[in-house]
């Protein structure tokens, strides 16, 4: 009987950390990825990019905001250097996400962390960080399951957008453009509720929003996000030190 319970426990542990569990934990984000990826495919199509070029972009860049920017700037005949620089600035926030996840993968070799980081997105980060509650490391297999599912879904979505884009005149009618903000709301709330640092987190969240609004007058959207994240996280750190 004792042995049975022991075995059962181990079974549960394995499933929690498995590749398949990572795939399952990715499912709630798929709809958001699908609609954004679809939109990215449509925009690529209207910018005059070929389906091969759109697919290559999803395979290699794999970042929604960056792909919208590349499509838009190619359509307006931006220079390669200015396009690449803009993409770099927009995706600088990944530095913070990657840094925040690093303590949970401290047991892995650099090559393994390279594989994990190369498929990191806002959404997979959100799912992963919510998984870290009461844990000091994350499973590599689980992370691959999460990452690869999101990656394949993104490629399928952009391809579908590129193919069907010619017939879709108004995706906003179905509220699909709200999938991304709704997903960020979900990730934010779940993170705050699961951490149990309610008051401090609310202070940090409200400051971040206020800083985004304030800095948007003189910074571009992505730089405002970075400034808000750095300042609000510092505020959280200081407040926690006081108490």
């Amino acid at each position: 009987m004792q042995e049975n319970i022991q075995l059962h426990k181990q079974d549960v542990n394995i499933r929690e950390d498995s590749f398949l569990q990572g795939v399952k934990d990715c499912i709630p984000t798929l709809l958001g990825y699908l609609s954004i990826g679809f939109a990215a495919g449509v925009v690529g199509n209207t910018s005059g990019l070929s389906i091969v070029e759109i697919t290559l972009m999803s395979l290699l860049i794999y970042a929604g905001s960056a792909q919208f920017i590349v499509s838009g700037m190619i359509a307006s005949h931006g220079s390669p250097a200015s396009i690449i620089l803009t993409v770099f600035i927009v995706n600088l926030r990944h530095l913070l996400l990657s840094a925040a996840l690093s303590p949970y993968f401290s047991r892995l070799t650099p090559v393994k962390t390279l594989l994990i980081g190369s498929l990191l997105t806002d959404e997979t980060f959100g799912v992963a960080i919510n998984k870290t509650t009461n844990k000091n490391h994350l499973s590599e297999k689980w992370m691959h399951g999460l990452n690869i599912t999101a990656y394949l879904n993104w490629i399928v979505a952009t391809l579908a957008g590129a193919f069907l884009g010619q017939w879709i005149t108004n995706p906003e009618k179905f509220g699909l453009d709200f999938a991304l903000p709704a997903m960020f709301i979900g990730l934010l709330v779940i993170q705050i509720v699961s951490r149990g640092k309610f008051t401090k987190d609310i202070v940090v969240a409200i400051s971040a929003v206020v800083i985004v609004l304030g800095t948007s007058f003189f910074l571009s959207g992505s730089m405002a996000i970075i400034a808000a994240t750095v300042i609000a996280a510092t505020l959280g750190m200081v407040v926690e030190k006081w108490k």
Binding site: P28, V70, A99, F184, L188, V212, G236
Partner: protein, 108 residues
């Protein structure tokens, strides 16, 4: 069905500058011991970045503060937040958000 060489150049360049910030901290920071204060700082990054992204999506139009122009999105945010708080379900939250916006656009 072709790839133009200057487009290829842009895609490869953009993919390199996207890859570096994604992998560098994971590769470097996971090798060293991070001091306590830095860990505490990092622990607030998720909430800060997600809140900043929500603020940007709901309150800015083309990167500028627009004195609450996004009426529909702001109204839809209420049931979306409520669903997230009550159910803690990401899928449920996304679905309620999308349906709310769809219904509001139909009737407003």
């Amino acid at each position: 069905m072709e790839i133009r060489w200057h487009i290829l150049l842009i895609i490869i360049g953009a993919s390199i500058v996207t890859l570096i910030p994604r992998v560098l901290p994971l590769m470097v920071l996971s090798r060293i011991n991070i001091p306590d204060w830095a860990m505490r700082w990092l622990s607030y990054v998720p909430v800060a970045v997600m809140a900043a992204l929500v603020g940007e999506e709901l309150l800015l139009v083309d990167g500028k503060f627009s004195s609450f122009q996004n009426h529909i999105e702001l109204i839809a945010a209420a049931p979306t937040f409520l669903t997230a708080i009550l159910t803690r379900s990401l899928l449920g939250t996304v679905l309620v958000g999308i349906v709310s916006v769809m219904l509001l656009r139909m009737f407003l």
